[in-house]
């Protein structure tokens, strides 16, 4: 997997002396078509696009992403639609990696193997499963690897030293560090200095892993963390979609502007 698109994106960003910018939006928010248009448009500025597959009982998501998820489900998004969004996206922008992110029950119902086969076919680059922690995720993670898909391990401030070592050892190319004890969309309640200290603990174990920081990152906070390999912004984008819809403005344009501004702050 040495030359995966994910690794390539980090390499490109590093060359420009900046962190990679990762966006998170929910597939089907607010419709299948709009979410694809958003994805295409923001990928001009984002390095890696995470695409949430929405679940109606999300135990780790805050209000913004919940709202987006419920909206997408209400508008009828199905797993196969999500694959077709990725397929369509990849046809045009083949060099931008896509990471699917969601809850395990949806993969379980679809069937792990069938899900991965579909992912491979539409060229999904990575998968994050919020409620399938290490070591329970070992089998699924190795299945991902066999399909040349990155399984992305999560690490949080509560992760013990021993676990940290094991997780890093078994991780693929990218690791997601959760900045604080929070659901998504919480206000950053830990100082950037503290977050970066924890981040460095991961890097010190293995400097070749691409470590991204997520949770609580907004236009206000992003520049304070820019020494990381990558930074993920999700809730702020979901919120922008909600606001745009409420004001009857074009979410594609508005969200793209937010991503553009985020990018400018880390250049």
């Amino acid at each position: 997997m040495n030359y995966s698109l994910i690794s390539q994106s980090f390499k490109n960003a590093r060359k420009e002396n900046r962190p990679a910018l990762l966006t998170y939006t929910v597939a089907g928010d607010n419709t299948k078509k709009t979410s694809l248009r958003i994805l295409k448009s923001i990928s001009k500025y984002a390095d890696i696009c995470e695409l949430g597959f929405p679940h109606n009982t999300p135990i780790a998501d805050g209000g913004q992403i919940q709202t987006s998820s419920y909206r997408a489900i209400k508008n009828g998004i199905k797993i196969n639609d999500i694959f077709s969004i990725v397929n369509d996206f990849k046809k045009n922008k083949n060099n931008k990696p896509i990471i699917l992110m969601g809850y395990y029950n949806m993969i379980y119902q679809y069937g792990e193997n069938k899900f991965l086969k579909k992912c491979k076919k539409v060229k999904v680059d990575g998968i994050i499963v919020v409620d399938l922690p290490y070591p329970e995720n070992k089998i699924f993670a190795s299945k991902c690897k066999n399909n040349k898909i990155n399984f992305i391990q999560l690490i949080s401030p509560t992760t013990s030293k021993k676990r940290l070592k094991q997780i890093i050892k078994d991780s693929h190319e990218m690791i997601y560090y959760i900045s604080m004890l929070s659901t998504t969309g919480g206000k950053l309640k830990v100082s950037p200095k503290k977050i970066l200290q924890e981040y460095k603990k991961i890097k010190n174990q293995n400097k070749y892993k691409n470590v991204v920081i997520g949770f609580g990152i907004t236009e206000k906070t992003i520049s304070s963390l820019k020494m990381a390999d990558g930074l993920v912004v999700g809730s702020a984008l979901c919120k922008e979609i909600s606001t745009s819809l409420k004001k009857r403005q074009n979410p594609v344009k508005n969200v793209t502007n937010v991503v553009k501004r985020l990018k400018n702050k880390i250049l």
């Binding site: 679940h55 109606n56 009982t57 999300p58 135990i59 780790a60 998501d61 805050g62 919940q66 419920y70 489900i73 199905k78 797993i79 809850y103 395990y104 029950n105 949806m106 993969i107 379980y108 119902q109 679809y110 919020v130 409620d131 399938l132 922690p133 290490y134 329970e136 999560l154 690490i155 949080s156 401030p157 509560t158 992760t159 013990s160 676990r163 959760i178 004890l181 929070s182 659901t183 919480g186």
Partner: protein, 409 residues
Amino acid sequence: MKLKKKTPLIDQHDKYGFWGGKFGGSFIPETLKKPIEDLTKEFHKLRKDRKFIKKRDFYFKNYIGSPTSFIKLENLSNHLGGAQIWAKVVSEANGGAHKIYNATVHALICKSMGKKYIVGDTGAGYAGKMLSMAAKKFGLKCKIFMGAKDIKRQKPNCDAMKKNGAEIVPVYSGSQTLVDAVSECMRYWVSNCDNTHMAVGSTVGPNIFVKICGWSTAQISRELKVQLKKEFKKIPKKIKLINCVGGGSSAYGFWSEFIDYDKKQIELIGVEAGGPKKSQLHAAPLSRNAKIGILHGAASYVCQNNEGQIKETESISAGLDYPGVSPIHCFLKDTKRARYTYATDEEALQAYKMVTKFEKLNPSLEPSHAFAEAIKIAPRLNKDTIIIVNSCGDAKKDRDILKKKLGKY
């Protein structure tokens, strides 16, 4: 898939927390791994600690009021003809339902872990009311998550929570019932697990919560075993233990001592919420053959669609109105040790009417589901058969619903 004898059911899981290799587990975000590991260690330590057991027994006796009585429902039995119908009146427990056992144990664990804040979910409001009582008793600050729909339909219990100084956090997402309350409570815990203890209100959720809750409610069957021997000199030859099943904490507590018996001697019957007769919706994943899915950190039979989205449920009984069920009941179903069925809203109401007409007993809508099954099968059985219903909740909380549906309370 096989049950082991002489091992409590709550301990018959593998190293990843699965019963029968596929039910339960801990499907949790990384942030909760550590707090759950800490809690698991603590519980493991405490349940082997004589001093802790003594403390538990002290509070069970002097605070909760053990044992709750075991009585024959003479008039109801005579009216139906057939089997003898008995009740274990668990609603006599302090607070009016079995939820007090789990709440008390969680408060003791919380204290022992040095945490000052405790949070929990509630549907019928009993789990919340009991946690607020225990929190007050042991000097903890308490927050209860409750669906907005349930806050409206279970007002007496909400009043009690407030009186005990707990904060009720209304949950407006989804169907605004128990399923959403549990999700919101877990989300809160993700953000506050460093200083807050979480109690899950039933034998659901990540593995350790199933265990703690089952360990707590098991008191019910320990008492019953003694009472049966006292009443009949030995355990009778033909017993049917009937219990309503929402998450399954009261049923597990009622059955745990009897699981090793042959099912020809002691049959275990769980009654889920069938919802309104005319509705497609229900809250009966076991008896209406839902598929296995993951909800609130555990694998169990779950009402869901093909895509894995959790389905809305409907029941007149807020306590049973939950799309999932305990992994240990899934295990009991698949090993065929217990039988699961359901009662509709209408049947539960009729059962309530009949029980209260013949007996000085006031079962809430949850155990009324169990009574509905007892009433259904009793006439076909002979009088050597002992049907025992766990009357696990008091109907005071259902006052408004009963008034509306039956014209009186």
